[in-house]
Amino acid sequence: QQQVKQSPQSLIVQKGGISIINCAYENTAFDYFPWYQQFPGKGPALLIAIRPDVSEKKEGRFTISFNKSAKQFSLHIMDSQPGDSATYFCAASRTGYALNFGKGTSLLVTP
């Protein structure tokens, strides 16, 4: 059973545009929501993470928006660059339990 649902499966954005990836969850006990970035041939790497006590977290061009009541969170990549082309995974976890990954979004940023 997929505990974190991620969309879209793939995304094409022009350079300079905004990339938006959405995730939804059901388990209200989740208390940590990271995003991982994976380049071809590499392992996933933690990009940015948020806890449910805040609604937004920004690190450079990457922002997580969190809506606790809707049980949704999203990743926004501002001024998207070709170097951002990668697969992005949202995830969620609760204390004492393993991380649950979404199915991933393949992002392509065209020049």
């Binding site: 940590y32 990271p34 991982y36 994976q38 041939g41 590499k42 392992g43 996933p44 790497a45 933690l46 993470a49 697969t87 995974f89 995830a91 976890s93 204390t95 004492g96 339990y97 393993a98 991380l99 990954f101 199915k103 991933g104 393949s106």
Partner: protein, 113 residues
């Protein structure tokens, strides 16, 4: 200086063979994991060890046997390989059990012919 290193990076083998993948982390973490990534990129946890103790053992065929000789090493042995075992296997580590901040290796791509 690689934080989480896996060997080998590629394995190509015939059905029915046995193979092993080794993983080492130099981050001083106490928890290590094996994940399987299939052709659709889905990441599925297989096993986790905390200080050499098995703490996660997902529904994985018993042909897969992890072994952690110490907290810096986690190996994966696979017996009687099947076509469906073809995937990329990632080792990861974290400080503390069930931490959401995982550090992944570069993966070991297994192809079973």
């Amino acid at each position: 200086d690689t934080a989480v290193s896996q060997t080998p990076k590629y394995l190509v083998t015939q059905m029915g063979n046995d193979k092993s993948i080794k993983c080492e982390q130099n981050l001083g973490h106490d928890t290590m994991y094996w994940y399987k990534q299939d052709s659709k990129k889905f990441l599925k946890i297989m096993f986790s060890y905390n200080n050499k103790e098995l703490i996660i053992n997902e529904t994985v065929p018993n042909r897969f046997s992890p072994k952690s000789p110490d907290k810096a090493h986690l190996n994966l042995h696979i017996n009687s390989l099947e076509l469906g075992d073809s995937a990329v296997y990632f080792c990861a580590s974290s400080q503390g059990s069930f931490s959401g901040e995982l550090f992944f290796g570069e993966g070991s791509r297994l192809t079973v012919l």
